[in-house]
């Protein structure tokens, strides 16, 4: 336990975090990162750079082997209760939506409030409907996920993650699996959410989104944070050659 007491406004702290897959694949290397309350961060980088692994460490879908990760005052360790506490405060949206296909849209949303939050069914349903309205999909509440389009499914997934009223939202390439025509409807919802003041970490290559809402853009390569700065600096005045090279590839056409 180290310096996080001095930085109470930091809701997430990574302190020299290292992670390996197996014995040889060093996927996160000496990660130091402080996220302020309400901060909106976009993480980009080539595939295999560790950006997904980084945000998946925040709700311990991945375990780190070295260093400390503290989320809202709770350090992530093998202690199951610490993990459960953190997961209640962190919502996550996945590239493949990961909705539960055997449950209706409404049941997908009420599951966690009812079973984790011990909320009565009626109250959970009211909350779920409010979140569905927020992502403009309330009329689909009784359908099954596979009956919806990709964009609609991802909006349901966002609403589901919001149902536990998390302090932090993690997005793992939320638009990468979508048809081009559906990306905008999901980004619109995310932009609205970002303006609401929630802490947000988003792995994405949607640079328009980064410019519109990010307070900070982080560029990763080979398990390290190569560069971080505000979007204006990042896009107009990148410092490292690796960042310049990456930006030329994704913005070049």
């Amino acid at each position: 336990m180290s310096t996080h007491h001095a930085h109470d406004h930091h809701i997430i702290t990574f302190d020299k975090v290292n992670k390996w897959y197996g014995n040889n694949f060093h996927v996160l290397r000496d990660i130091n990162l402080n996220v302020a309350r309400g901060e909106r961060i976009v993480i980009c980088g080539p595939s295999g750079s560790g950006k997904s692994t980084l945000i998946r460490c925040i709700n311990r879908l991945e375990e780190h082997q070295e260093g400390h990760i503290v989320v809202d005052g709770t350090e992530l360790t093998d202690d199951v209760r610490a993990v459960e506490k953190v997961r209640k405060e962190v919502g996550m949206v996945f590239q493949q939506f990961n909705l539960f296909p055997h449950l209706t849209v409404l049941e997908n949303l009420t599951l966690s409030p009812m079973w984790v939050g011990k909320m009565p069914k009626k109250e959970a349903e009211e909350r779920a409907m409010a979140q569905l309205k927020r992502v403009r999909i309330a009329e689909q509440a009784q359908k099954f996920p596979l009956q919806l389009s990709g964009g609609q499914q991802q909006r349901v997934a966002i609403a589901r993650a919001l149902c536990l009223k998390p302090k932090i939202m993690l997005f793992d390439e939320p638009t990468s699996a979508l048809d081009p025509e559906m990306i905008k409807e999901v980004l619109d919802v995310m932009i609205e959410l970002a303006k609401g003041g929630i802490t947000m970490l988003c792995v994405t290559h949607e640079m328009g989104f980064a410019k519109a809402v990010a307070d900070r853009v982080i560029f990763m390569d080979q398990g390290q944070i190569v560069e971080e700065s505000n979007p204006h600096e990042f896009f107009n005045n990148p410092k490292s050659d690796r960042t310049k090279d990456f930006l030329s590839k994704i913005l070049g056409h």
Binding site: N59, L61, E84, R87, K88, V90, G91, M92, F94, Q96, N98, L99, F100, P101, H102, L103, T104, L111, S112, W115, V116, F144, L146, Q147, R160, A161, L164
Partner: protein, 367 residues
């Protein structure tokens, strides 16, 4: 200049593709080979049908008269054997005057099974009903209280024994198989190893040897003075045997669930057991309904093996009824057809129920 996009309105297919007539035309008379096969099979069926009807109905003897049956041998079936021996076939060695007891007990158990198959009754109180009904079942069968005489378990037999062994081992083996399947995928090496050894050990031996061990070898290892009823030992044997096979079927279903489902459940804060119960098992079990039902049906028929440890269930009771009676022994085939019909009735019902379950579970997959 920009072209105007005009969508073409949807219209019905030009030839009817659904319904009886198109189905017959497509499947039975699609080309000359299938037309020929259809005609040949219908001809064969018409050729055999009269002979079969003559043997089974027209020249058959329905009276329980051994001499008449003997005279009609080779020409007509002797259903008289069923009329004469049905009490012995259905109830085995259970005392004749007390046979109303297994009858009521079995009707109770079958009624309970039917009720348990209906979704509207899947409520917590159903477990309590099961407890009460099983208590009543064993009280009726064994007696010894409230004015019923004691009938020891070695006198139990016939259809009640078959149904009791099958339904109890199914009801016990299914949850056990789910636990073993989860155990084989556990992060804890001790649990995983234990489940692997259990499954591999049981799958490596035939059911007959499991029953032999339960019946003859197990008592040798018990401390003197302590005995467990052979019926219970056999029931445990069948349950452990069936659970090992079903565990592998369930594990197949578990493996088909994408990792993302578990991750999504974890990210929502669900615990391990909540994730399994609410997310993983409903999807995994829905996928393996045909395999599971296959196993249920096979358990039902495998109960006939308990004859070798001197428990006379339906098949055993048939042998009991006919082997020692020289007058009726020649008509064993009619007796076998009779119990075949009983087995088929139960197994076919299970098979239809499985299809119905599959259809219900597929609701979420239709667009």
């Amino acid at each position: 200049m920009s072209a105007v996009f005009e969508p073409i309105a949807a219209r019905p297919a030009p030839i009817k593709t659904e319904g009886l007539v198109p189905w017959v035309r497509r499947n039975l008379f699609g080309n000359w080979q299938s037309t020929l096969t259809t005609v040949a099979l219908v001809a064969l069926f018409l050729y055999w049908l009269p002979g079969l009807a003559e043997w089974a109905v027209v020249k058959a003897i329905f009276r329980a008269d051994a001499d008449v049956c003997q005279a009609a041998r080779g020409e007509g079936a002797c259903w008289g054997v069923v009329a004469e021996k049905y009490r012995l076939i259905i109830f085995g060695r259970y005392p004749y005057e007390e046979q109303w007891r297994p009858e009521v007990a079995t009707l109770l158990l079958v009624g309970l099974l039917v009720v348990s198959c209906i979704r509207n009754f899947w409520k917590p109180w159903l477990a309590a009903v099961w407890g009460v009904a099983l208590g009543a079942f064993f009280w009726l069968m064994y007696g010894g209280a409230l004015g019923l005489t004691v009938v020891p378990t070695d006198r139990w037999g016939g259809l009640p024994l078959t149904i009791m062994l099958a339904s109890l081992s199914i009801v016990l083996a299914f949850p056990l198989s789910v636990l073993v399947a989860l155990g084989r995928r556990s992060d804890m090496p001790a649990i995983r190893t234990f489940c692997v050894i259990y499954v591999e050990l049981i799958r490596g031996v035939p059911l007959i040897s499991v029953l032999f061990m339960a019946s003859f070898m197990f008592p040798l290892f018990m401390p003197p003075g302590l005995t467990i009823d052979v019926l219970i030992r056999v029931l445990v044997g069948i349950t452990l045997f069936a659970a090992a096979y079903m565990a592998e079927i369930v594990r197949g279903g578990l493996q088909a669930i994408p990792k993302g489902q578990v991750e999504a459940a974890q990210s929502l804060g669900l615990s391990y057991w909540q994730t399994q119960r609410k997310i993983v098992l409903p999807q995994a079990l829905a996928m393996v309904v045909p395999g599971i039902m296959n196993n249920f049906i096979s358990i039902f028929k495998d109960t006939s093996l308990v004859t070798i440890v001197s428990l006379y269930e339906l098949t055993g009771a048939l042998g009991l009824a006919l082997n020692s009676d020289a007058d009726w022994r020649p008509f064993k085939i009619e007796g076998y057809l009779f119990i075949t019909a009983i087995y088929f009735m139960f197994c076919f019902a299970m098979s239809r129920y499985s299809l119905w379950i599959e259809k219900r579970l597929n609701v979420s997959k239709t667009r």
